[in-house]
Subunit: 223 residues, 2 copies
DNA sequence: GCATAGTTCAAACGGACGTTTGAATGAGAG
DNA sequence: CTCTCATTCAAACGTCCGTTTGAACTATGC
């Protein structure tokens, strides 16, 4: 066995933290699915990059789709946790404003995932890509991971915007979801150098997107 | 040969207007690529549905990707034409407002394509899907079809919003592009019955989206 | 009539796909 | 040491993929 974490040992090697085959598969799946989509990425490409045997996928997860499901769940967990935490905090202090809610929803998706470490952008692109995969089957797989907390935000937004019709708030909400996913997937950043790159700085991107959405929610929804 | 238009004849059969193999392939490709994406749709599925031989694709187009390219060009042509026409008309009467520009850009994408006949929604979904395909190669294929007229709109928008920084206008512009594509692809309409369906009526959808975007452009862009 | 060019056809090409198998390998428990 | 069980491995499974081939068919011009 080439590289394997010691089960009982209290230390990992200092230089390269040893990852299990399962973890390596999830990491590479995150990257490759984010780059090429689900259909466009083969298990062989994943297992080669992860230095794992093809059969390891079916041993650890059961199938290609189950691998994707596990990767989505792992990637979404911290985002959902942070969104829940922020919403709890806001609601503990009374009825939140639309801007507070938008910020609490968008920032965990962009910041918490665009910032930290090397893998951040990969995770963001992965989530954004899966959320709007061509296959409805895959999209539902993502929706199942994020629906509960999303429902809470939708209800809070409707309470924060009593002058707008509920359908209008829902319309704004799916627009927020979609724009966030598109920026996460980096599909909006035009291929070459190009005239302008709106997302050169993740922090700026978050502020620009929030300002854009706040204006649209506050004044762009029908009664 | 089962069904084939008579070349010299002056009339087609009254009941079923006969389509050429080439046209049938383009029609079915539009539908299937729009449903399953490029990678998720096989040439065999297309040729079976089009009642054509597999080799017909390579005879008429050369390859799967060339078939997609031809379908994109055909689908985008009327949209681009209409956008150009509207922009010419607006600019002939002086400097257009942001709302006029947004309307002239969004409506041809939604209305002209969502309304007419049975095939409208299929074409819309096809365009929306290809515009944000997981593969950058496919996305560039779409961009090549719509870039020229898009560049004119971007310039006009920047002139209409002198208080906003050019990068901010470009940011709003890609957001408009992305939201339009997402609504066209119907990826934002949640799968089942669901709490609310924001896009029940195409006409309403256009007005809602335009109002949303106008508010965001007018008040949501940084200086 | 015949020749010609444009299309369609069944069949096969090599390769890549997701999945499965059964043996080999490893560490920990008795 | 021996047994056990989790994990890894090379190899093969059958299926589907995009593409190519070469013959058959069709309409038109001579």
């Amino acid at each position: 066995m080439p590289e394997r974490a010691v089960a009982g040992g209290k230390e990992n090697s200092v230089e390269t933290p040893v990852e299990s085959t399962r973890e390596r598969l999830l990491n590479v799946a995150e990257q490759r699915f984010g780059e090429g989509g689900y259909e466009g990425t083969s298990l062989r490409a994943i297992t080669v990059a992860a230095a794992a045997n093809i059969a390891a996928v079916n041993y650890h997860f059961g199938s290609k789709e189950a691998l994707l499901r596990a990767a989505v769940a792992r990637a979404m967990a911290p985002v959902n946790t942070e969104r829940r935490r922020r919403l709890d905090q806001l609601e503990a202090k009374g009825r939140p404003t639309a801007e507070q809610l938008i910020r609490a929803f968008v920032e965990p998706g962009l910041e918490l995932v665009l910032r930290r470490g090397e893998r951040g952008p990969m995770v963001a692109r992965f989530i954004g890509r899966i959320a709007f995969d061509p296959s409805q089957r895959i999209r539902e797989l993502y929706a199942a991971e994020s629906d509960p907390v999303e429902a809470r935000y939708l209800a809070a937004l409707q309470a924060a915007l009593p002058r707008a019709a509920p359908e209008s708030v829902a319309f704004g909400y799916v627009n927020m979801l979609g724009l966030l996913a598109l920026h996460q997937s980096q599909a909006l950043t035009r291929p070459p150098g190009d005239p302008v790159d709106p997302a050169d700085d993740p922090g700026k991107l978050a502020e620009n997107l929030i300002a854009f959405l706040v204006a649209a929610f506050d004044r762009g929804l029908r009664a």
